[in-house]
Amino acid sequence: MKKIAHLVLGVITSIGGFVEVGSISTASQAGAEFGFRLLWTIPAAAFVLAMLVEMSGRLSALSGRPYAAAVRDRFGAHYHLTLMAAELVLDFLLLAAELGGAAVAMQLVTGIDARWWLVPVGAIAWTILWLGSFSFIEDGLGLLGLVTLVFVVAAWRLHPTPSALANGLIPSLHGGDLARYTFLTVSIVGATVSPYLLNFYGSGAVEEKWTEEDLWSNRITAFVGMGFGAVVSMGTLVVAAMTLAPRQIQSDSYEQAALMFLPAFGRYAVPLFAAALGVGCLGAAVEISLDAGYVMAQGLGWPWGANKPRLETARFSGAFTLMLGASLLFAITGVDPLRLTLIAVGLTVMLMPIAVLPMLVLMNDERFVKGHRSGPVGNAILAAVTILGALLALIVVPLEILGG
């Protein structure tokens, strides 16, 4: 019974933790510019994420090592340093964007400039990190994140037609700006398949002492949790497609994105949008900071663990504090969080082969996963998606960033 309750909690928190700055930005832009036509990308990306997260949990449960430590053991320090550098760069950019997103949420509600909110948001994130155990951070923020279900409620209140939804689930290149379509496809993949989730999830499995017996709940949490999480993200796209696209409003700022709730919620629109954005971003900011600590500590062999007293794991605590501080300083320079998000998610896809391909090797090595190796079909799908995504990103991301 306890295991079932734990499983249900895991699924619910996966849903609550799914939506953050990247998914809100990319899904609202996709809906505003292409209507339902990019809907298919979200379940496709969520499926890839679920496969990777399941692998990460399986690796940790069977080897007792999270992903970063397993990469160091299997591929050596040099490769691990490459992976660590790539992940820390992405964590840094994404964290700055999440902090910026949470600050913008406060600005939407109060009208006070977002830059004034950055330090308080950073302080709240650090306090949660310093005082919270792993389950408090994961479950507490995940449950709070259920406020993002407001996107699904809004979509439901707008009554999208089943045929429009079904058409959106079929990839279509018909009409429109092909480069922009590809860029948003790549961005949605990057926003969904964040590398930090792999190590964060695997580290959580080690923190919670998963064993071979937990593999079934790992699989259910990964696929069901991410599946329902994807529904929230799809809700964002559907609402934007039904409210912003017909009025030709592009989602170039969070103020424009917030308008998507007006037809569904009237005077509660902006507070509800701000709550979803703020909670989603704060939760992700805490998880990314913690992940940066995990990556550095596991890779460099320091003691680590969110369940241990912080002074016992001083270098781990220092690492997440340093990452949070550095990203906060970067955000304070006034960088546009929306633009930063798009750069970060584009870079994520470009760097995905570095992060994902070692996972495929590890998942076929019996020293790490014993008899629970991955099947050839799953391996082939992941390898193909990763490489194709990176090639596409290499072409369209510079094009969009340069403002072409």
């Binding site: 600005q107 939407l108 509600v109 109060t110 009208g111 006070i112 700006d177 480069a179 009025r247 030709q248 409003i249 592009q250 170039d252 700022s253 103020e255 424009q256 917030a258 308008l259 007006l262 009237g266 005077r267 629109a269 902006v270 090639l391 290499l394 072409i395 369209v396 510079p398 094009l399 340069l402 403002g403 072409g404």
Partner: protein, 141 residues
């Protein structure tokens, strides 16, 4: 266009004699070329700017109506107008970057639309500052 695509695919095809490093270099060159080609198309650029102006105008209209109907707070409306003003001015700046672009009739017309939009946003912003919804209503098309 088709010839360009064929040339690009020939350039990107990787014979076994070409090393991975050279192949990666080719991809970077091709992506830069694609980027330069896309950025260099003035009609596509103008279309994007037209969409940006339309998006700003519609945002302004919806925010103003929502403020008049008490659906959004004055604080939100102010922030939204400031952002819309920034986007409109950014577009106008892009349009007036070179004297040659202003000589084009379509670009000049769009620049004027941008100016009018910026002025409208500024006046709506002022009506929020003095808390006068009727003034805002009169300004709306």
């Amino acid at each position: 266009m088709r010839q360009n695509a064929v040339a690009l695919s020939t350039f990107l095809a990787r014979p076994s004699s070409v090393s991975m490093r050279r192949f990666a270099l080719r991809i970077v060159i091709a992506s830069s070329a694609l980027g330069a080609a896309a950025c260099g198309d003035p009609q596509a650029q103008l279309q994007k700017q037209r969409q940006a102006v339309q998006s700003c105008r519609e945002t302004t209209r919806i925010v103003a109506h929502a403020w008049v109907a008490h659906e959004v707070s004055a604080g939100f409306a102010r922030v939204a107008f400031d952002r819309a003003y920034q986007l409109a001015e950014q577009t106008r700046h892009e349009l007036t970057e070179s004297p040659r672009s202003l000589a084009d009739r379509q670009t000049a017309a769009l620049t004027q639309e941008c100016e009018e939009l910026s002025r409208l946003i500024a006046r709506l912003r002022a009506s929020i500052d003095v808390g006068d919804p009727q003034a805002a209503e009169r300004l709306l098309p």
